[in-house]
Symmetry: D2
Amino acid sequence: MGQRTIELSYLNASDRQGFLFSLSGIFENAPWVAERVEAGRPFATIAALHEAMMDVVRAADAEDQLALLNGHPELAGKSARTGRVAPASRLEQGAVGLDRLAGEELLRFEQLNAAYRRRFAFPFIICTRRHTLDSILVNFQRRLDHAPELELGKALEEIGHITRLRLVERVDGPGKPKTAGRLSTHVLDTVAGKPAAGVEIVLTQRGRRRHQLRVALTNADGRTEPPLIDGAPVPIGAYEIAFRVGGYFAARGTTTSDPPFLDVIPIRFAVAEPEGHYHVPLLVSPWSYATYRGS
Amino acid sequence: MGQRTIELSYLNASDRQGFLFSLSGIFENAPWVAERVEAGRPFATIAALHEAMMDVVRAADAEDQLALLNGHPELAGKSARTGRVAPASRLEQGAVGLDRLAGEELLRFEQLNAAYRRRFAFPFIICTRRHTLDSILVNFQRRLDHAPELELGKALEEIGHITRLRLVERVDGPGKPKTAGRLSTHVLDTVAGKPAAGVEIVLTQRGRRRHQLRVALTNADGRTEPPLIDGAPVPIGAYEIAFRVGGYFAARGTTTSDPPFLDVIPIRFAVAEPEGHYHVPLLVSPWSYATYRGS
Amino acid sequence: MGQRTIELSYLNASDRQGFLFSLSGIFENAPWVAERVEAGRPFATIAALHEAMMDVVRAADAEDQLALLNGHPELAGKSARTGRVAPASRLEQGAVGLDRLAGEELLRFEQLNAAYRRRFAFPFIICTRRHTLDSILVNFQRRLDHAPELELGKALEEIGHITRLRLVERVDGPGKPKTAGRLSTHVLDTVAGKPAAGVEIVLTQRGRRRHQLRVALTNADGRTEPPLIDGAPVPIGAYEIAFRVGGYFAARGTTTSDPPFLDVIPIRFAVAEPEGHYHVPLLVSPWSYATYRGS
Amino acid sequence: MGQRTIELSYLNASDRQGFLFSLSGIFENAPWVAERVEAGRPFATIAALHEAMMDVVRAADAEDQLALLNGHPELAGKSARTGRVAPASRLEQGAVGLDRLAGEELLRFEQLNAAYRRRFAFPFIICTRRHTLDSILVNFQRRLDHAPELELGKALEEIGHITRLRLVERVDGPGKPKTAGRLSTHVLDTVAGKPAAGVEIVLTQRGRRRHQLRVALTNADGRTEPPLIDGAPVPIGAYEIAFRVGGYFAARGTTTSDPPFLDVIPIRFAVAEPEGHYHVPLLVSPWSYATYRGS
């Protein structure tokens, strides 16, 4: 994001100084993670580099781990809102709207943050780019009930998600770990036995932060180009794809009723695996439709 | 509606006076309609009686027809709002919310009423119980463009609808004309191969006057008892049936994702034939569903 | 079947002699069953009468039970083939073709009969009207592996099925126990949004004794009248319903390809509950179809 | 087929002799077709070369066209059966079984051949690799009714299909014309919301020459690898794909009935466009399934 990408081959070949500098900020306020993997070079893949860094984290002593966790800002905390956090964290929290909370929602986060820190002695950490505000709240509440040991593992796992995404954006080269999911659709006209071209599709994120993510027309193959979401995690949360089939059938002169039985068809579903492929097609006639999670 | 029903056999057997009195108000401000069919007694069915009355209307001269049409109040007109119309009309307009219009909507009706009366010299007549506010507006606009002769026929047709419904409520006996439609649903669990029992269903009318019409649970046969709408016209307009399948599958322990891919499934459709049977079933697994207009 | 039915009220009111005579043959060669329930009269329902008779059977001592079981002919045994069995048994075995076995199939039954009798000391008993030849063989093989106690219970259960069917045919009156299943279908044209009328349907029993059971045309409601199977058990086994949709769409002028993508659609399924309702509908366009076990 | 392929660049660059020799046999017994396009070199694509050759054919005088048509053997004629035809024709007729006809079928072809030649004065020509025996017979019968002029055009069109396929096999290079279709499938388990892996699939050609074309197992993505038919025309005709879903669900422990409601699901369909993509997926639970022509 704004920063130049670095080749893995460069990381493997550069001097220690260059290596450490290149990876600065991936693990927030914890330069020791990069320091301890440096001797393990060369790394065949970006995934192997990330795995090595996480091995360092998991093998670190309790003090180092706690310091790492405490190096992260609180969600929606004052430092996040006033901008006194690492740029990467700021961007990540901003994407999901955590820097713009107000009123009851802000209060709720402050209460959760306080309760969490009281119980675990480190801030609540979650990879915001894999979540919506709703799923962050659900997870926050659930994780408060965890036993401390379980929750420590969970927090480190989230640091794995956060740093994997940061690393993939910083470093280019072979063996990128899977960080992207996909949301795609396909409209099939079962009267014509053909893909339905020119159907207007609106993708909306639902929940507390309802907003339109995409408006698209299906192409000759009944798909959107590009897919509705691609190349990034699909945040855990609720979605709707609305298909304007009324206009489509009217334009084709397909006989129907007045008003048409089906006009705008909303398909509502939730995403649970941000790195998964969610193919949500529509098989449609003027009087019937079907959908399913495909692949 | 508050009034006692009369047996068709009584109508056939009573004296002229009784016959006319019993049918008063069916054709608003037009006692001559009943007068001219009285000699045609006995009527074998209620449908035959209504048909005979409509034959009288269609055979009447232009002056009588115009008087009949002008005997009806304007939609959402001042007389409707101030209550100075026949009780049947008041109830019919109230059902669709025409007595509570305000602001721009009221203005819109006043403009349409004025334009319509200017063009056709009688008020816009529509059987409100077969319509929603939205479909009344669509029809109002369309009918303004009709040629006068076509529109006269259309207005008399609507009087046919209005009086058929009134007659069916006033008179009991054989051969009731069809005035009722039906909206029903059925939920089939395609994992269990059985009707899905205990699924919460919410029926909503959509459009300008969005409101919940019914909340129901499916019974052991996967249906609602009684059907969602039965025994009355299903007003032309837009509807949604929402099915809470997430809770259903969770209660059965059917494996799914967290959050579940499908939770509340909205099916949106429009009704075009108020006397038709709209069967809108849901075939559902935790990962797929299908719907169609069945019978 | 050829015999006059008797009213339950007559059974309740007649003298002991008449009661016993009326129920003769229901439990083959075991008049003691009727004798021991006679004092329990009156029976409010036919189901209650049958249940009382089965209670007698289950409460009988081992000797009586064995005698009852041995009063039944072997399946496809010599006595069945030469006609020296009770008329009811003859008819029941004939329906499924057990009286016409030959060659390897006959040999197979003789081996199974011998092995079964050797193991359990009574003949293999199964309610043939609830089965096809295939499911009889599957059950025969499986039950040979049962522990003797389990198998005795299973044999008595089958006597329950056999006698329930016989009683329901002999006696008329309230509270008939459920002995009939149903197989029905429905064809919905998803292009027209209406039931498909005039579709030719062929129901075939599959397996060793493949034969056409029914040819029918769908009526205006897209159903067959009467249902494909009704008023009798639907024998456990494999079935096919073939729907000639090619001709249907051609007759309606629905655009399709040449040759049509879909012409005769075979739906193959198995019945496991003879008293169940198997609704096997077809939702079809010229390019797609769906089916499911409905209700 | 046994012959080495030639590069289009070689055809463009070689001397006239080499060019003509390389294309010999593409247009059976009609070297003049290649001769007349030779001067048009270079051809940018194989499609352009074929189009140029067909332009020559369509522009030729009646005598040359007739000679070209008469250079083709009769279908299932004596010369085809005794092997006295061009190797390409022999292979093409053999693929569909025309060299092995006997009895009534042979007689039928002999009658059709005689009637056709009497009417049009040239043999019936059809691109056998785009057809099954059934569709050849249907087309033979239909084309006998054509007006001579229409049928001449139809015969030349078939020569276009035949030579396009031959050219594509003989010549390598850019711009191959589309000669291949595709038949693919996909099995989606709607209980698991995932592709169904390990489902046995049997593809059969139906009609007079019923034979198994392919047995395959679905892979982790629910597809067969390679597709059921790929890289060649899908012959016009009737097909069945049978899916063994009973074993699949049993292996997964999915609850069902005994015997399972669905075991082997046959999907029967016809192909009308040999160069089209026929995607015929199955969405299946133990109690329901759906299929459609997808893309």
